[in-house]
Symmetry: C2
Subunit: 325 residues, 2 copies
DNA sequence: ATGCTCATTTCGGATGCTGAAACGCACCCG
DNA sequence: CGGGTGCGTTTCAGCATCCGAAATGAGCAT
């Protein structure tokens, strides 16, 4: 099998901030699958095989097109939607009825048409956070793994630990763990936890310390003072290391925070065999590439949130938009 | 046939003030319409007639349920979605394929499941602004019209005029205009325009003046100075009146801004026959009720944006959410 | 290497969707 | 006030599409 034709180009389609702009409707080709099948939670195998088991459900696409269009129009009549989408009016009425039944759209005589309701926020509410960070980081994380060969992970604060939500071990030639996904590294001892706590806002750090004290009676004030000094050192160096006393001891793990404004959105990590990288080379071959990658990711996130057109407008932006012709 | 077994469902969780609280799944009742039919852009007739021409399209409801669930899960496998929704797995795969084809969802081995993409923002982008203001204002505007009998209108800045997007003339017993909807009252002479310009941030007001100067050569510096004085007076009184020199001269129109923070989201207006309300009664019977209504609306908007759970989180809130258990 | 889990695919059957055309309400104009 | 007209809504027949139990096989664990 030509399993190796993937790793070369990979991400060609998933590129940069624009994401899936190639809307050329990934067509359903039932007969000749080139990608074969691959479970979405596979820890090996390809990642981007363009493949679809089923042809898209047309009624769903139409409903989403109508909802999207109604969002653009703000307030729209059946005729407006017909003019923009070209869909037959009965279809539009049927879809609007469906959207109304689920509460996404309201029919309102007093504004002479249909409009979206607050419920559409449910269709979007999960994006900011994990999904956004992964979407922004993915191509760069893959690039980094291809470049330095060691696997890259991304984790976010989740309760009193870091939750690992992304891992490029699937494409690293030197994988040394089964998977990092769904691991929950400790806030105190893990590299990602340390990177997070070192760079998050002070107020949040205090909250986390308080929570750690409550849950862990063995964590006394002397440990806390010591840990605060450690975090200060992490801030100075710009990266965190895993405690050398935790497993796996054959590896070193480095982590750097992914930040936006004064917030830490996630931590990005690289880990490698101690014996494979000479101590003198670690900075050049791991830490600097990692820091550069994170810098790129942060600039993409900055662009997506503040510069891009897809941003949810603040009230000030609403006026700016209204002013624009 | 048991066509009426549709809405077992949902929306009971939809709470409070939000306007269309009667979301109890507008059931499709093919035979006995109680509401009859009514065009969505009718200027008379009822507004909330619970009626649906068609039964909801099931596939669309399922797709939206899956998308909503995936938003809650952040990252989810087919099994996760099956466990939460109870939908058969093939259906889930089909719907995910459809959502992927349109770019709303990505399948990502490196995070072991499916996740939503930035594109879901398109399904929501039209809510903030007009739709939000109308949704928040609607019940109060209706209450006000029922109370004072005169029709209420809501308009927002749109280019160099106010666009009227909402009007309760349909339920006012003393309608005196065919419709106000889709009118575009002038920024300088109309009550809504004056209310807007009086209370918007200074920076925005300068931009608007600049635009007016450019488009209207007859608007000299003396007129501008005079108008600035007028706006200062509007700020002092807390409401604006339509210029007495514009049509319709038999009416008086009053407007008050609907604000959030330092921004003006919209203007709310009441107009009435000069001869129907004695000058001494205007304040008590029109202006005060209008101001009270706007105050209620503003507090609802404040709650919806800053306090409610439906809010799109800022980066600071993301951490607050992550900290919460 | 073998078994087992679980995502994915297949396939037959019937449900549900499509959209042209008819309908009739509600506004407009004389 | 009363017909004309535009447009939102309804109907209906035909067939494309979707459903979901069961089979498949990829991928992980031991």
């Amino acid at each position: 099998m030509d399993m190796n034709s993937y790793g070369t180009d990979t991400v060609a389609d998933e590129d940069a901030y624009a994401g899936e702009t190639n809307q050329t409707s990934h067509r359903y080709s039932p007969g000749q699958d080139e990608g074969g099948s691959c479970r979405a939670n596979s820890r090996r195998g390809m990642t981007d095989s363009i493949k679809a088991s089923y042809p898209p459900v047309e009624s769903v696409r139409r409903a989403l097109e109508i909802l999207r269009t109604l969002n653009r129009l703000r307030i729209g009549t059946v005729g407006d939607l017909h003019a923009v989408t070209g869909l037959p009016k009965p279809t539009i009425v049927r879809m609007l009825d469906t959207l109304i039944a689920d509460g996404y759209v309201a029919r309102d005589n007093m504004c002479g048409g249909y409009r979206v309701t607050h419920r559409v926020k449910d269709l979007h509410a999960g994006y900011e956070g994990i999904a956004e960070v992964i979407e922004a980081s993915r191509p760069f994380a893959i690039e980094l793994t291809n470049s330095i060969k060691w696997p890259v992970g991304i984790g976010m604060l989740d309760g009193d630990a870091i939750a690992v939500h992304f891992w490029t071990g699937t494409i690293s030639p030197w994988v040394h763990a089964n998977t990092l996904l769904h691991n929950r590294p400790n806030l105190i001892t893990s590299a990602m936890g340390r990177a997070y706590m070192a760079f998050c806002p002070e107020e949040e750090r205090e909250l986390l310390f308080q929570r750690i004290r409550e849950k862990n009676s063995a964590f006394g004030s002397d440990q806390e003072a010591q840990h605060r000094a450690l975090l200060a050192n992490v801030r100075k160096k710009g990266y965190a290391l895993r405690s050398p006393r935790t497993e796996p001891k054959r590896n070193i793990t480095v982590a750097v925070p992914i930040r936006h404004g004064d917030m830490v959105l996630a931590s990005m990590t690289v880990s490698f065999f101690i014996t494979a990288v000479a101590p003198a080379d670690v900075d050049e071959r791991v830490i600097q590439p990692l820091k550069e990658t994170v810098a790129k990711i942060e600039s993409v996130i900055r662009f997506m949130r503040d510069g891009g057109s897809g941003m949810l407008p603040t009230s000030r932006d609403v006026s700016r938009m209204a002013l624009a012709v």
